[in-house]
């Protein structure tokens, strides 16, 4: 759980986004970037011996709850964005007959 390791996951996603030739693979790379962001945020405020942020006993040491609350919204939004992108992929396939960037960017049917 090193911040640098989770940043490497984000960079792998950026590399895939820049070099992938298929639209579905680009959507996967967006989800990889999202997973790296979640890992990076959950690193902050975590320390050895910290418990989950639920106050069911007095005087316990908890981890920082703020990044976890932010990441709940990221997960829900990420799933909806992925579904929207995949639905667009289906429509692109029906229109162009292919989901390669090369064919789609040329523009003819």
């Amino acid at each position: 759980m090193n911040p640098i390791l989770s940043f490497i996951v984000i960079l792998i996603g950026v590399y895939g986004l820049a070099t992938s030739k298929n639209i579905i693979k680009s959507v996967f790379c967006v989800t990889i970037i999202e997973a790296g962001t979640i890992l990076l945020f959950l690193n902050f405020g975590v320390y050895e011996g910290g418990l989950i942020p639920i106050l069911n006993a007095i005087g316990i040491e908890i981890v920082d709850p703020l990044p976890q609350a932010l990441m709940i919204t990221t997960i829900v939004i990420g799933s909806t964005i992925t579904s929207l992108a995949l639905m667009l992929c289906i429509k692109i396939f029906h229109h162009y007959g292919s989901i390669e960037w090369k064919v789609v960017l040329k523009g003819d049917k």
């Binding site: 590399y15 997960i75 799933s79 909806t80 964005i81 579904s83 639905m87």
Partner: protein, 230 residues
């Protein structure tokens, strides 16, 4: 090839910048926020689960817009997946689907338990791990299993979208209710000096509305994909 090598060098440079900026993380990040939430969280919001305390009270404004993004994405999926009237004879994945008998038998045993567990996670969101978003996903899975058992029963997606719009208005109106009782928007409508049991009414209400909204949104998205595949 040269493009890829230069891209790798660029990403390596970004990684170097990040690793140098993260070195003095202890100076940037301090535990003041954590101590504030630990000391005041239960008194301010009446929620034992501090994550729920943040996304339903301190940062309710964020959660409202997040529910709005969910609504917009579901409407976008519905709008994009509209069928062309010319393709009358298209065979969809739904028509060819044959659910195996073993799947039907086991899921009939399983889905009431899943539905019950999802509702437990939603209602106990302020006491134990869970909440509206997570419980809504579990309830949506249970209802989709029910849909898989008898696939001839069609779900009217437009009706689901209408219910979801009304739930979003309900969410906004519950969040605005504190303008009358506390004279500030987007917080708990029970007064600050009320007991924790009274305050949890607001949390349970909002968790149920968010859970229903997430469940309906996920059902609508999945049904749209099932009707699109061909």
């Amino acid at each position: 090839m040269i493009k890829r090598i230069s891209l790798v060098f660029l990403l390596g440079f970004i990684l170097y910048l990040f690793s140098t900026s993260i070195e003095n993380l202890a100076d940037i990040y301090n535990s003041a926020g954590k101590d504030f939430f630990r000391d005041n969280g239960f008194y301010d919001t009446g929620s034992m689960n501090l994550v729920t305390a943040i996304y339903l009270d301190y940062r309710l404004f964020d959660s409202l817009f997040e529910a709005g993004i969910l609504l917009i994405a579901v409407s976008g999926v519905m709008w994009i997946s509209q069928h062309n009237t010319l393709e009358k004879n298209a065979t969809f994945m739904l028509d060819k689907q044959k659910t195996p008998e073993l799947f039907i038998t086991f899921s009939r045993l399983l889905y009431p338990v899943m539905l019950l567990f999802g509702m437990y996670v939603i209602i106990n969101g302020h006491l134990s791990p869970g909440g509206g978003f997570q419980g809504g996903a579990i309830v949506a899975t249970a209802i989709l299993i029910l849909y898989y058992i008898d696939i001839s029963k069609s779900i009217d997606v437009n009706k689901i979208l209408t219910i979801e719009k009304f739930l979003f208005i309900l969410l906004l109106s519950i969040a605005f209710l504190s303008l009358i009782t506390r004279n500030e928007v987007f917080t708990n409508f029970i007064p600050v000096d009320g007991s924790a049991g009274m305050k949890s009414i607001f949390l349970i209400l909002l968790n149920i509305v968010i859970g229903a909204k997430v469940a309906l949104g996920l059902i609508a998205i999945f049904t749209a994909f099932l009707k699109e595949g061909r």
